[in-house]
Amino acid sequence: MFSSAPQSTSTPAAGTPGTGTRLALADDLLALLRTTTTEPRPDEKLEALTLAVAADLPVLLWGEPGIGKTAALTQLATSLDLPLTTVIASVHEPSDFSGLPVVGDDPAVRGVPMAPPQWAVELVRAGRGLLFLDELSTATPAVQAALLRVVLERRVGALQLPSRVRIVAAANPRASAADGWELSPPLANRFVHLHWAHDREVVVRGLGGVWPRAELPRLVSERLPEAVAFARRAVCGFLEARPTLIHRLPGTETRRGGAWPSPRSWEAALTLLAFGRAASVSREVLALLVRGAVGDGPGLELLAHLERMDLPDPESLLAEPVSAELPKRGDLRQAALEAVVAAVGARPERERWEAGWAVLVRALETGAPDLLVAPATALAALRRDDWEVPEAVERLAGVVGLARRADRSVERATAAAEAGRATGTCR
C-alpha cells in the first residue's frame, strides 16, 4: 500500500501498519508490566474480612483512598467464588439506590413503583455476588441514607437482594479534611468496622512484581457445633461477669462513629467468634473482628476473658497435681496458681490443701520460683491448727529464701531513700 515509513506531515488513518505496530508495541509493554507473580503471605485483615463477609454481617472498611481496598475485595471475591460488583457511591444519585419513582396512570390507586437500577436487577438475576459500595463517605447525605438502606435491609427500591449476595461498604476515615465524615451511633452499631492500612513491605514488593496471596480461612464442618458452644460460653460468661458492658453508648467525642457495645453488636461478636473458631483462625484475627464489632475496650476485655478460659481448670489441677500442665507464660501461670489457691480456700479440706502444695511444687520444678511467693503465702494462710505441714513445703524452702532476700532488698531501698532525704542529697 504505502511505504511503511511514518510520515510526519499527514496523520495516518486508522488501520495503517504504522499505528498498528505502535499500539501493538504499547500493548506488549503493558502486558509485560501486568505480568506479576504472587507469593503466600498471611494477611490478618483479609482473613478478618473474609470471615465477616462469610458471617453475612454488614462490614464497613475504613481506609484512605487508594490503599488497595478494591484489590482486597477482588481477591476475596475470587476466593469465595462470587462475581464482584463495585458501585462508587459518590457518583450516584439517591434514586439509584432507593429506586426511581415512576409515575404511572393512576398513582393514587396503584401507588408509585420504585424502579431498581440495572446492576441490582442483574445481581438478583445472578442470585449471588459480592456488592462493594465504595466511597460511602464522600456521597451526599441523601445518597448515604439510601445506601445504608441497601446495606442494612438489603433492598434496592422494590427489589430484595437474595441472601447469597454479600455486601461490603467502604468509607474514608474522619480526618481533618473538610469533607470528613462520621456515622451516627445507631448506624455505627450495625456494622463490623475494619480499619484498612497499607503495609509498606507489601506495596514495595508488589510494585516489584510480587503480590501477596493470602490463604483465606475455611470453615471446617466437624467443628461447627463445638464452635457455637464455645462462642456462646465465652460471650455469656463474659457478660455475666461484666453486665455494665452489655449496652454502653459512646460517651466521648473521640469514639463517635466507631463500634460500641450493645445487645445487637454482642450478637455480632458472638457470630464472629463462632466463625473464627470454626475456621481455626489466630487470636489476632479474632481480635480484629471482636474489636470491630463491639469497640476496642470491650473487645479487648472479651479477649482477655478468652485467655482466662484457656487456663487449666483448678479442680483438675488439684486432682492430678503431679502431672499438672501449667501455662508457660509467667503471668498466666501465676493466675492459674492463684485460681488453685482460691479453689482450696472455697472448700478448705486437708487433702485439697496438700494437693495445692503439690501443685506449687510442680510449678517450682517447671518454671521461675519468684512468682510462687504470693500463692504460697496465701496457701500457708489457709492452714488449720490440726493440719500437719506436708513434706512438699520443704521443697519450697528456696522460694521462702527468695522472698526474704527480696524483703531485705526493699528495706535497703527504703532506708537508702530515707537517708538520702535526711542528708538532703538528691541524685
Binding site: 447525605p141 480526618a175 473521640t254 481480635a287 475496650g297 482477655a304 509467667g330 519468684d370 537508702a416
Partner: protein, 401 residues
C-alpha cells in the same frame, strides 16, 4: 538468675499493679547485651555480668524501667516517630531511647524503688518532668547527654530498632500483638480499679492506654461539620425541584442537587482568663471549617461578649470575618443576640472557658461548645469555692487545648 528473680520479686512487692506485666516477661540470658534490654515481643535480654555487679535493689529499678518501656508502647511510638521525622541513624536511635527513658524515669523511682546508677533523668538537660517521649524529642537535642550515656541500650522495646541479639517475632516465648494488648489492658484495669496505689503518671497512662486522645482540632471540626451538614444545610439532593435530566425520562421523578450553605455563628465569651493564642486558633479553625462546608466567606459571623472583644476584634479584621458587635455581658445574651440575627444561623459555636451561666433552654439550632482551658493565674476573687456549671447536655462539647 536467682538474684535477678529476687529483684523481680522486690519490684512486684513495691509495685503490685505491675505484677502481671513483670511476670509476663520472658528472661533470655545473653552476654552480648550491655545491661538489660527488652524487645517488642516482651522478651527481656539480660547480661549475666551486669546482674553480678549490680545490687538487687537497683536491679528491681531496672526491671520496672524495662517493663515500663513495653507498657507504654515505646517500640511502636518510636517506629512512628522515626518514620514521620525520617530519623533512622544510630544517633537518632539513642535520642529516642533517652527520650523514652526520660518519660519513664521522672516518676517511677522512690517509694521503695531506688534509682539505678546512671539512669537518664530530664533534669540532666534541665528539662521539665512529666512530658511524653515525643515532646522531649521535639524540644531537646539530647546532645549533652549522649556522650556519657552512649552505653545505654534498652533494646528495640524502647526505640523500635532491632538488635543483633534479639530473637525476632518468630522466636520462642514471644507475645503476639493481641497478647501484649491483653497484658496492657489487665495492668491498666488494675490501676484504674485501685487508683490510690499508683503514682500520677501511671494513672494517666491507664486512662489513656486504650482511649487515645484525639487532637481537639479534629474533634471540633467534626462537631461543627456534622452540625452544619445536617439536613437542610450543605449540599444535598432534594425532590423540591425536578432534576434537569427529567425531561429525558418522562414519567420518572429525579431529584436535583441543591446547595443551601450553612450559616455558622461563633459566640465568644471568655472572662479574660484564656490564653489569646488558643482562643485565636479555635476561632480560625471554626471559620476555616465553616468555609469548607459552605464555601462562602459571608456565612460565618462572630459575636463577642464584652470581655472577649479585645481578642476577637483584631482577629476578625485580619481574617475579614464579619464581627457582629458586642453580644452583651454573658453567654446567654450572646446566644439571644445570635438567634435574633436574620437569617437565623444553622449552627452556633460557643467558645468559652465555662465560667459563665448557660442558656436555660435549648436554642432552636445545633450548638457546639468549645471549652477553653483557664489559665492558672485566674482565680475567682469573690468566691474561692465557686464551681462553674457544666455545659448543658444538648450541646456537643469539645475540650480545647
Amino acid at each position: 538468675m536467682e538474684k535477678l528473680l529476687t529483684a523481680r520479686l522486690h519490684a512486684v512487692k513495691v509495685r503490685p499493679y505491675l505484677a502481671d506485666a513483670l511476670f509476663a516477661l520472658h528472661v533470655v540470658e545473653d552476654r552480648s547485651v550491655p545491661t538489660m534490654a527488652v524487645d517488642a515481643h516482651w522478651r527481656c535480654y539480660v547480661s549475666p555480668g551486669f546482674v553480678d555487679r549490680t545490687p538487687v535493689e537497683e536491679l528491681a529499678g531496672v526491671w520496672v524501667h524495662e517493663v515500663s518501656h513495653l507498657l507504654r508502647d515505646h517500640h511502636g511510638r518510636s517506629e512512628r516517630y522515626a518514620r514521620e521525622h525520617r530519623e533512622h541513624g544510630p544517633g537518632e536511635r539513642l535520642r529516642r531511647n533517652i527520650a523514652a527513658d526520660f518519660e519513664i524515669n521522672d516518676d517511677i523511682y522512690g517509694d521503695g524503688l531506688s534509682l539505678p546508677a546512671g539512669a537518664a533523668l530530664p533534669s540532666l538537660l534541665r528539662l521539665p518532668d512529666g512530658l511524653l517521649m515525643e515532646e522531649y524529642l521535639r524540644t531537646a537535642s539530647m546532645s549533652g547527654v549522649a556522650a556519657d550515656l552512649a552505653w545505654l541500650d534498652c533494646g528495640s522495646g524502647a526505640d523500635g530498632q532491632d538488635r543483633p541479639w534479639e530473637l525476632g517475632p518468630g522466636g520462642a516465648y514471644g507475645l503476639s500483638r493481641q497478647q501484649r494488648d491483653a497484658v496492657r489492658l489487665r495492668v491498666a484495669e488494675g490501676i484504674r480499679g485501685r487508683p490510690g496505689d499508683a503514682p500520677e503518671g501511671w494513672r494517666r497512662w491507664a486512662d489513656e492506654a486504650f482511649h487515645p486522645s484525639q487532637p481537639w482540632r479534629q474533634l471540633l471540626g467534626a462537631a461543627v461539620r456534622s452540625a452544619a451538614s445536617a439536613s437542610g444545610a450543605g449540599e444535598d439532593h432534594s425532590y423540591r425541584r425536578p432534576s434537569r435530566r427529567s425531561a429525558g425520562v418522562p414519567g420518572v421523578l429525579l431529584p436535583s442537587l441543591r446547595r443551601t450553605p450553612p450559616r455558622v455563628c461563633v459566640v465568644i465569651d471568655t472572662s479574660g482568663s484564656v490564653s489569646d493564642a488558643e482562643l485565636g486558633s479555635a476561632l480560625l479553625e471554626v471559620a476555616a471549617i465553616s468555609r469548607a462546608v459552605g464555601g462562602r466567606r459571608d456565612l460565618v459571623s462572630v459575636i463577642s461578649c464584652d470581655a472577649a472583644a479585645g481578642v476577637a476584634v483584631p482577629l476578625c479584621r485580619a481574617e475579614s470575618i464579619e464581627l457582629v458587635g458586642g453580644g452583651g455581658t454573658d453567654l446567654r445574651s450572646g446566644f439571644a443576640r445570635a438567634l435574633r440575627s436574620r437569617p437565623r444561623p444553622d449552627v452556633i459555636v460557643a467558645l468559652t472557658d465555662g465560667q459563665t451561666p448557660w442558656p436555660s433552654v435549648q436554642p432552636p439550632c445545633r450548638t457546639v461548645v468549645g471549652l477553653l482551658p483557664r489559665a492558672a493565674r485566674a482565680v475567682d476573687e469573690e468566691n474561692s469555692d465557686y464551681t462553674p456549671d457544666t455545659p448543658p447536655p444538648w450541646a456537643r462539647v469539645v475540650t480545647i487545648g
